[in-house]
C-alpha cells in the first residue's frame, strides 16, 4: 500500500504531468493516423530517451502506448482502416455501425470500452502484477501452441455467411503466415525471390492492403462512405453519449474482455491484436444476441476495444517483472531501462515498487484523459465520413502508400500492399471473410515454431500437448467455445419448442 501512495505521489510532480499530457496527445495523433503506430513512433523516441531520466521516459512511453490503442479505433470505425494493427478487430463491428449511420454511437461506445479497459486493466496490474509475473514464466512452447489453437477458434465467429469459405480464408491466412524463412532449417518459402519477403510478410503493408486499399476499390463508385439518407445522424456529443452509455449495458462482457485482454497481454509473444480477436470470439460465443454480431452491435465493439486496451497493462507486467516483453512495444520499454543500466526482472518489484505502481497508475490516468480528449476531437474527426470521395480517396491513398513505405523504408513493401489489396478485393467479392484471413496470418507465426519447439523439448513425444496443466485448461476452453454455442442454441430451440407446445 505504501508503494501505491509513493507511486501516486511521484505522478503529481508537474513535469511528470506534462509528460503524461504530451504522451496522451502524441498517442492520440499517432493512433489515429493509419501507418503510424505505437511501435514505430516509440522507436523514434528512443533517441530522446537517452537524455531523459528512465522513469519519466517510461511514463511518457506508457501514455503514448495506451492513448494509441484508444485512438486507433477512430479510423477503424470511421473509414475501416485500423489506426494501429491492434484495432483491426474494431473494424468488425465499428465500421458496420458507421455504415448504418451510427458513427457517433460507435465512437462513444468504443471510447467507453477503451476507458474501462484501461482502468480495469490498470487496477488488475496493480493487484496481480507480482503474482502474474510468475505464471507468465510457466508459459512454454506447448502452452503457446495451445494458446494459438485457442485463438483459432475465434474463426468460428468470423466466418460470415459460409463456414467453408471462412475456414478456407483462415487457412489461406495461415499459409501466407508461412511465407518467409522457416524457423528451423532456414529454407526460404514462397518468397518469389524477393528479399523483403525473407523475414515473412510485413504486417503493416499487409494490413493496409487488406483494409485500406481494398476499401478504396469499393468506395470508387460511391459519393461518400455513408449513403445519403444516413448523413443526418452525425457524431454530435449527444450520439456519442448514447453510445457511451450503451457500452455500460454490457458490463459482464466488459469485465470478461478485460480479463481476457489482460491475461493474453501478459503472455509473451502475443499482444493486443490477438487479445481483441480472441475476446471478440468469446463474447460472441457466450452472447445472447450472437446473431447480431458482424452486423454492427455494441457488444462486439465493447469486447474488442476493452480487450485491446486491457492488454497494454498486461503486456507491461512481464516486461517489468521478468524482463520478457509481452509485445513489440514493450521491447522498447526494456531497452530504455537497459540504456540506463537498469535490468527489469524478478527483483524489479522489490527495488522499484513505487515506480512500477506509478506506471500502472499512468495507464489508468491516460485511459481517462485520452477518452475525454478523443471525445472532444472526434466531433471534427467524424466529419471525415461525410467528406466527398474526391477528397477522401486521395487521403486514404496517400496514407496507405506512405504508411506502407515508411515503416521500413522499402519500396517493395508498396508492391506487397498492392498484391494483398487485390487478394482482398476478390476475397470480398466472393464473400470470403477478411478478418479470418488476418487471424490466420497472425496466429500462423505462433503455431508452427511453437509446435516444433514443444516437440524438441519433449523428444518428439506428442503427449506434451495433453499432460501439462495449462494445456489441459486450454483444451477444455477450446472444446467449450466450439461446442458451447451449438449446445446453447439447441437448448434454446428445445425451450422454444416446449413453449410453443404449451
Amino acid at each position: 500500500m505504501s508503494n501505491f501512495i509513493l507511486g501516486l505521489q511521484s505522478l503529481l510532480d508537474w513535469h511528470i504531468i506534462l509528460y503524461i499530457l504530451i504522451g496522451a496527445v502524441v498517442g492520440l495523433f499517432v493512433g489515429a493516423v493509419p501507418g503510424l503506430n505505437d511501435t514505430n513512433i516509440l522507436t523514434l523516441f528512443l533517441s530522446f530517451a537517452i537524455f531523459m531520466e528512465p522513469f519519466p521516459a517510461i511514463i511518457l512511453m506508457t501514455s503514448v502506448f495506451i492513448a494509441c490503442q484508444t485512438a486507433g479505433a477512430i479510423p477503424a470505425i470511421l473509414i475501416n482502416i485500423p489506426g494501429t494493427p491492434s484495432t483491426a478487430a474494431t473494424t468488425l463491428e465499428g465500421y458496420e455501425l458507421t455504415k448504418r449511420g451510427m458513427a457517433g454511437q460507435a465512437l462513444g461506445c468504443s471510447f467507453a470500452s477503451s476507458m474501462s479497459g484501461s482502468i480495469l486493466g490498470g487496477v488488475m496490474a496493480l493487484l496481480f502484477a507480482p503474482i502474474l509475473g510468475k505464471y507468465a514464466l510457466s508459459f512454454g512452447p506447448p502452452e503457446m501452441f495451445m494458446l494459438a489453437l485457442f485463438g483459432m477458434t475465434a474463426v468460428a465467429s468470423l466466418t460470415g455467411s459460409s463456414i467453408t469459405k471462412g475456414l478456407l480464408s483462415a487457412v489461406l491466412g495461415l499459409l501466407v503466415g508461412t511465407i518467409g524463412t522457416d524457423f528451423f532449417v532456414g529454407v526460404t518459402r514462397s518468397t518469389f525471390g524477393i528479399l523483403e519477403l525473407c523475414g515473412g510478410i510485413p504486417q503493416v503493408p499487409l494490413l493496409l492492403g487488406l483494409f485500406g486499399v481494398s476499401e478504396l476499390y469499393s468506395l470508387i463508385g460511391k459519393k461518400s462512405i455513408v449513403s445519403a439518407e444516413h448523413q443526418v445522424s452525425q457524431t454530435d456529443t449527444a450520439s456519442q453519449w448514447e453510445g457511451f452509455k450503451a457500452a455500460f449495458r454490457y458490463r459482464s462482457t466488459m469485465l470478461l474482455s478485460t480479463i481476457i485482454g489482460f491475461v493474453i497481454g501478459v503472455i509473451p509473444g502475443t499482444g493486443a491484436t490477438i487479445a481483441s480477436f480472441t475476446s471478440y470470439g468469446i463474447a460472441r460465443s457466450k452472447s445472447k444476441e450472437a446473431a447480431e454480431f458482424g452486423k454492427g452491435c455494441y457488444e462486439g465493439l465493447v469486447a474488442t476495444d476493452t480487450a485491446n486496451n486491457a492488454s497494454v497493462p498486461g503486456s507491461i507486467v512481464p516486461a517489468l517483472t521478468l524482463g520478457i516483453p509481452g509485445s513489440g512495444t514493450t521491447v522498447l520499454f526494456i531497452s530504455v531501462f537497459m540504456m540506463h543500466g537498469l535490468t527489469p526482472g524478478p527483483s524489479f518489484f522489490s527495488n522499484f515498487g513505487a515506480e512500477a505502481n506509478a506506471i500502472f497508475l499512468t495507464v489508468i490516468l491516460v485511459g481517462i484523459l485520452a477518452t475525454l480528449a478523443g471525445m472532444m476531437a472526434t466531433k471534427y474527426m467524424a466529419k471525415i465520413v461525410s467528406l466527398p470521395i474526391s477528397v477522401l480517396g486521395p487521403v486514404i491513398a496517400a496514407f496507405c502508400l506512405l504508411g506502407a513505405y515508411i515503416c521500413r523504408g522499402k519500396v517493395n513493401d508498396i508492391y506487397i500492399m498492392l498484391a494483398f489489396s487485390i487478394l482482398a478485393f476478390f476475397l470480398k467479392k466472393f464473400h470470403y471473410s477478411l478478418p479470418a484471413f488476418l487471424l490466420g496470418d497472425i496466429l500462423g507465426s505462433l503455431i508452427e515454431p511453437n509446435f516444433f519447439r514443444s516437440l524438441a523439448i519433449s523428444n518428439n513425444d506428442y503427449t506434451v500437448f495433453f499432460t501439462r496443466p495449462i494445456c489441459i485448461v486450454l483444451w477444455a476452453l477450446i472444446v467449450l467455445t466450439l461446442v458451447g454455442p451449438a449446445a446453447m442454441s439447441r437448448r434454446n430451440r428445445r425451450k422454444a419448442k416446449r413453449q410453443s407446445a404449451e
Binding site: 513512433i41 523514434l44 459460409s162 467453408t164 469459405k165 475456414l167 478456407l168 487457412v171 489461406l172 495461415l174 499459409l175 508461412t178 522457416d182 528451423f184 532449417v185 532456414g186 529454407v187 518459402r189 514462397s190 518468397t191 486499399v213 478504396l216 476499390y217 470508387i220 463508385g221 466527398p388 470521395i389 474526391s390 477528397v391 480517396g393 486521395p394 487521403v395 491513398a397 496517400a398 502508400l401 506512405l402 513505405y405 515508411i406 523504408g409 519500396v411 508498396i414 508492391y415 498492392l418 489489396s421 487485390i422 478485393f425 476478390f426 467479392k429 466472393f430 503455431i447 508452427e448 509446435f451 516444433f452
Partner: protein, 167 residues
Amino acid sequence: MKKKKINWGEYLFLAVILGYLVYYLIDIYGSAFRAVFWPYCLMGVTVLLALAVAIRTYRKAPAADAAEGAEEPEQKLTIRERVKKALPIVWIVIAFAAYALLLKQLGFVVSTLGLTLWLSWYLSGKHLKTALLVSICLTGSLYLVFHVALGMKLPVGKVFDLLEKML
C-alpha cells in the same frame, strides 16, 4: 437435371489459389521435413476446402432459367461492360505501382502530389480546381507532419540530386 447458371469468377479464383499452391509446392519441394511439414498440412487442407467450396457453390447456384428472369442485372453484363466497371480499379492499381516505381526517383513531394492530383481529379469527375486544392493541402500537411515534425526520412528524389550536380 436442370442446367445451372454458373458464376465462373468464383471457380477462377479457386483455380488461382490452387495455382499458387503448385508454385509453393515446387518452391519448397525436397527441403528438410521441419521446413515443409506445416506448409504441406496447410496445402492439403486448402485443397480439401477449395473442393468443398466449389461443390457448395455449384449446388447453391440458381438454375439457369430462373437466373434469366429474376437475377439482378449485374449477371447479364456483357464482357465489355464488365471491363468498363473494373476499369477504375485497374487504373488505381496502375497508379499505385507507378507511384512505387517513381518514389525514389522523383522524391516524396512530387510523386505524392502527382498521385493525389490525378486521383482527386479522376474521382471528382474531372474538377481540376478541387483536385489541385486537395493534393496541395494533403501533400503539404503530410510533409510537414512526417518530415518536419517527426523528422522521418522521406525520399528526396534522385532527379533533384542530378539537377543539383548539373547546376
